[in-house]
Amino acid sequence: MASIWEYANPKKFIETTDRLLPWLSVTALLCLVVGLVWGFFFTPDDYKQGSTVKIIYLHVPAALMAINAWMMMLVASLIWIVRRHHVSALAARAAAPVGAMMTVIALATGAIWGQPMWGTWWAWDPRLTSFLILFLFYLGYMALWSAIENDDTAADLTSVLCIVGSVFAVLSRYAVNFWNQGLHQGASLSLDKEKNVADVFYHPLLVSIAGFVLLFVALVFLRTQTEIRARRMRALIARERLQ
């Protein structure tokens, strides 16, 4: 069996992801359409929250991906720090705008959902606040990559920032458990079946989550390819200038 480190070779990474991308994109689109259409058109209203429960099919997957995108960036950053594989640093860079957009979707749908349920668009609740800080970390991470000309230095510094920001990614996930205060309810998904949302909402939610995960993977593959090409382009231009 081939070693996973084979994919640290940019050429091999591009070849493999080029083959996977069409399948990933089609499956992501299919899952998103099925999950969202099922959730929007074919699920009942909740006895407490009425039709606003339909927002769950966007809000929960986006929030889940906002946190997990940062975790993926953390793993890629650690690989860069330990093994110095450029593809892993570029994959972390590629994932940041996708994670940031997922955070914006989670914050926006949360505010729109919160207004009729809580009577306010925003509250300085532990989960909401840690999510806002996570979003600011995403912005800082992307700004730091753009601000530093040398790719290796940028990868080093953003990796450290990523490690620091992981505290807020974890806090965003567990804030509700850590502090029993604030407006946000507990997790909608749990290994404890009693705490899960009802099956009628759960199944379309799972399909929607699958769609968001696959979309994230497809976008990270595509954007990492772009970052690899952009890096090669910068190297060739630098070489031309030297001649």
Binding site: S51, W113, R239
Partner: protein, 52 residues
């Protein structure tokens, strides 16, 4: 076909509109930048080969 969303129609519909719009923008920008970078790299590689 359209479910009755009652008094929360505006909240539900705006959530879907905002999220889908943001996802479309994200995908469109990723694809656009991927194509642009691929084209520019091909041009530079061709120039480097030609100029030795």
């Amino acid at each position: 076909m359209m479910p009755d969303l009652g008094k929360y129609a505006q909240a539900v519909l705006s959530s879907y509109a905002v999220s889908i719009a943001l996802l479309v923008v994200l995908v469109a920008m990723s694809v656009w930048r991927a194509r642009k970078t691929r084209r520019e790299l091909a041009d530079i590689e061709q120039r480097v080969r030609r100029d030795g």
